[in-house]
Symmetry: C2
């Protein structure tokens, strides 16, 4: 049995995965604030799985944790996890002594990419031989690329940072200092900041206001579709992934978001036989609401290198 945890800003999603890759237990616990509380959250989530999902402690072979923020390649050190109040934390050092099994840590978007691949590879992406990008639409925008079941890691930890590719020299300023970045157009944080009105779900407010005819909201909403469509094009034209799976907080907009993105992809391909031949619209799909992809992916971190036998993903 392998446990996987997705540590989010408000809650931590945890699953137990059997040796066939099936999820056999799932719990959610509130996430603490700051390094000590985050480490306690991880321990609590494991305890809850042991009790509520009847996972015997002696059956646990590893614990994988997906964390927002940067994870230094090859280490279990997380830095700049701003949403969690964590400037720096070696998570394995903090929890492995109590857990007594290997603890692995990965960036949450990369973990979600692994999990989304595992969930979907049975659905016709080549049964594990195909490739996929998971595009996370949250406060920021980043992607994880998976091919043949393995994450594309790249050299220095920036693989999938498509949010900071500029697609318009006259576009809005990005928090990174460039102009017209995909994230400046389509990031939930950038949209909320430009919208500038209070509300629990600013991007949803923007969609509603655009539907009601507000011209500023229409511009922001069009920019979101433009940015997401550009990210899809970048991922297909650079990495030639078979599918782009959308996840993250902004995908709570559901069909309204997907319709906008699909329309943008179709419109921008109207003048280009080459772009039409890529059939981008058909390659984009949302992660279902409540999907355990990120926690499942966390459980799968490093598993391919653990075992000689193939680890079948259900």
């Amino acid at each position: 049995m392998r446990l996987g945890l997705d540590v989010g800003g408000t809650k931590t999603d945890a699953v137990a995965v059997d040796d066939a890759g099936r999820i056999v237990g799932r719990v959610r616990v509130p996430t603490g604030w700051g390094p000590d509380a985050v480490a306690r959250t991880v321990l609590e989530a494991v305890d809850r799985l042991v009790v509520e999902a009847s996972v015997p402690r002696t059956d646990i072979r590893s614990v994988g944790v997906g964390m927002p923020g940067q994870v230094e390649p090859g280490t279990t050190r997380v830095v700049h996890a701003v949403n969690l109040g964590v400037e720096e934390l070696d998570l394995a050092a903090a929890v492995a002594p109590q857990l007594g099994v290997p603890v692995r840590v990965e960036n949450d978007v990369k973990a979600a990419a692994l999990g989304a691949y595992a969930l979907h590879s049975a659905d016709g992406w080549g049964g594990g031989s195909g490739s996929m990008a998971y595009l996370n639409l949250g406060t920021g925008i980043a992607a994880g690329i998976v091919s043949g079941g393995e994450l594309w890691r790249g050299g220095r930890g920036t693989a999938g940072e498509v949010g900071h590719i500029s697609i318009d020299p006259n576009g809005p300023e990005c928090r990174c200092g460039q102009r017209g970045c995909i994230e400046a157009l389509a990031g939930g944080g950038a949209i909320a900041e430009r919208w500038g009105r209070p509300g629990a779900l600013p991007v949803r407010d923007v969609f509603d206001a655009a539907d009601a005819g507000d011209p500023e909201a229409r511009v922001l909403r069009a920019g979101l579709a433009r940015g997401v469509a550009a990210a899809v094009r970048v991922l297909v034209l650079t990495a030639d992934v078979d599918a782009v799976v959308l996840g993250g907080g902004v995908t709570a907009l559901g069909p309204r978001l997907m319709a906008d993105v699909g329309a943008e992809l179709t419109a921008s391909a109207a003048t280009s036989p080459f772009m039409r031949s890529l059939r981008l619209d058909g390659r984009v799909q949302p992660l279902p609401a409540g999907s355990p992809a990120a926690a499942l992916g966390a459980a799968l971190i490093g598993v391919a290198h653990d075992t000689e036998e193939a680890f079948a993903h259900g």
Copy 2:
């Protein structure tokens, strides 16, 4: 001994590579026009290597051929090799009977990427464990991505097609039908077409005219640097390659091109600590003039899957 051929529009570059990956012979022959003549060119290049480089025929284990145009994945069929007058050609079917050894065919940019990686991996890119993109600046713009010595193939043959990523919605029209594509700004063909004056090397004429103060030439020259810099950013932010190696006809401009691209990367990072942290300027390097990268890479096609023992690249 393995032979590798880079079939170009005017000449074919051919090398013999020993089992340690060293180039032990090299010849160049003029390329014929049309499918039959291209097949004869391949046979002639092999004959010339046998004679001039003293390669015993019985020592030849395979012949790899890099071709402009699309090579259908998993086949030796080339389609749309417009520069060669080839609409369709199964090259292995045409030459393997005479050669009596396995014949492999790959797109020339992808072959050059493999060869550039082999030539440079000894220079500190992790000794074969690092990653690299080869960015071909020719009539069009395309890249090949290599990681750990293996080409990133992607799902449908469009991996590395960064030339058709739009970076400016108000940019020039691209032959693909979109606007502001990297290739529309930086492709040798697009620049020659917009320059519109006769000349053997239109891009060099544009550089000279820009130096002489011609305003139209300055716009075109600035667009070339913008497009190349954008391609470098896309490759690093999506695939996180350790290095981007520039090759192709436009790199004949040498230090003038590199200085423009370096200045553009530096200027665009001036406002962005994030982009500065990527140190893109230091990751870009040109392939030396006359480099045998493409022919060497053609010799290496499929070699990793042939042999259990590691094939050392000199």
